[in-house]
């Protein structure tokens, strides 16, 4: 248990909360998806700090799962949802 790390996690939490404005306002769909990515990265940092702050090393595994699955939503978004309306560069591999 360490109060210092808990304070650091507490400082990072408003960084997530203010990111919500970009979801609500974002002009394009990618801006909204980027905010979800910010939530993922900040969530990993908060979990790492909380694992020392709460004295629970299991939280490192949750951070690992966060890091593994953070890219999945963004890549699905780009490949499935956002792509497709513009067929101009169809010869591009990938």
């Amino acid at each position: 248990m360490s109060w210092m790390h808990t304070i650091f996690a507490l400082i990072l939490l408003p960084a997530i909360a203010t990111g919500m404005f970009r979801i609500l306002r974002g002009p394009t769909a990618a801006d909204r998806m980027m905010t979800a990515q910010l939530f993922g990265t900040c969530g990993v940092a908060i979990l790492l700090l909380l694992s020392t702050g709460m004295g629970n090393p299991v939280l490192l595994d949750i951070a690992l799962v966060f890091a593994l699955l953070a890219a999945l939503a963004t890549i699905t978004f780009v490949r499935r949802t956002w792509h497709g309306s513009n067929k101009r560069n169809h010869g591009n591999p990938l």
């Binding site: 650091f8 203010t18 394009t28 801006d31 990515q37 910010l38 940092a45 790492l48 890219a71």
Partner: protein, 107 residues
């Protein structure tokens, strides 16, 4: 190798310093996401600043952890976040270029 108590204390304080160094990167990444004018600049703020901040925090926690297993796991987490965010940043930027979204210029 048994580290002496003084060495442990120095390592702990260095770790705290690294974590404190990493926090402003995170906050500036969020400020950049809110304030920057177009999608490319926002991608730049989000991806780079956040990953450097996470790197500093991982470095500090690894210095404080005092065990090789935890250090290896922390480095693995950082590496995964780096790969994930750089891949998705590249995909979003290329897709935006293909959709003819104009980069912001000071005009």
């Amino acid at each position: 190798m048994a580290a002496t108590k003084e060495t442990m204390e120095i390592l702990y304080n260095c770790g705290t310093l690294f974590i404190i160094l990493g926090l402003p990167f995170f906050l500036s990444g969020t400020v950049g996401l809110i304030r920057f004018p177009d999608i490319y600049t926002r991608l730049h703020a989000l991806t780079k600043a956040d990953n450097v901040g996470l790197g500093c925090i991982v470095c500090g926690l690894a210095l404080q952890s005092g065990s090789w297993a935890v250090t290896a796991k922390l480095l693995l987490i950082w590496l995964l976040v780096l790969v994930a965010s750089s891949a998705s940043c590249h995909l979003i930027a290329r897709s935006a270029m293909q959709k003819n979204i104009e980069p912001w210029t000071r005009s």
